[in-house]
Amino acid sequence: MKACVIVFPGSNCDRDLKVALTQSMGNEPNMVWHGDSELPETDLIAIPGGFSYGDYLRCGAMAGNSPIMREVVRKAEGGTPVVAICNGFQIATETGMLPGALLRNADQSFVCKDVDLLVAADNERFVGGYDRGQVVKFPVAHHDGNFFADEETLSELENEGQIAFKYATPDGELTEEANPNGSLNNIAGIYNKAGNVLGLMPHPERLISKELGGVDGKTFFDNLVHSIG
């Protein structure tokens, strides 16, 4: 399997994503510079976390205008799977690949900790390693992860099974305390309509071994590789 990781000025989870993908794929992904206008042949595009362009103006806004993103959007429209994590998720909403927007966390602070996530919909490709309704643990680390969408979009996301993950208690309850950033409906990650683009604030690439404190992230990438193969 071939994968690419897009690297923007200010990306800082690009290496972590590479490590996670390499662990699951057995070969290294292509690291693609934002200024390139063409993508190498690829079965998966991954947009990493970090602070592209310092998160200045709006998180992801400037990266969304990078030459490479036009190509990423085109490939996504053609069905190539895209996983966009944290800053990647913000970039994906800025380009319109995913609906909604990510606002400043409700309590104004950066938050870095493990969170529990309810797997909220079926999508073999991305969450085939888990069961719907299962609770998994990934870390979050962001300042602007407060998901917002207008009511119409929100109910569409809910009704069409486009919500990938919701912040939850370890028992799967969707409480306010379990929500680290004020996201509407506790939303932590969403799919596009076609289901081939996943954006999520939490970082599966950070929990890929026992030494790091958990393996739910490894399951995520193993499944991705297995299903895309």
Binding site: R58, N65, P99, L103, R104, N146, D150
Partner: protein, 80 residues
């Protein structure tokens, strides 16, 4: 010439910063504050051109980069 772009959150979009500001103001005893909203201003120095041209140009900048119209409104003021 100069242009100023005001960007504010659309009605109905939760404004965490504004909310935090009004909470803090209340905490400081400013009870006269009913609500607060936070927006952005971007000031641009531009090469000389006609006012209309400048407005058009800045509007394109807003659509492409400066504002996110999913959540934000913007208005443009050209000053010369």
């Amino acid at each position: 010439m100069k242009a100023r772009v005001h960007i504010s959150l659309k009605n109905g979009v939760l404004d965490p910063q504004g909310k935090a500001i009004s909470n803090s103001l209340h905490g400081l005893g400013f009870d006269s504050v009913l609500d607060a909203r936070q927006g952005k201003t971007i000031e641009l120095d531009l090469k000389d051109m006609s006012k209309e041209q400048a407005e058009k140009e800045v509007d394109r900048m807003c659509l492409q980069l400066l504002a996110n119209t999913v959540i934000e409104n913007y208005s443009i003021e050209v000053i010369d």
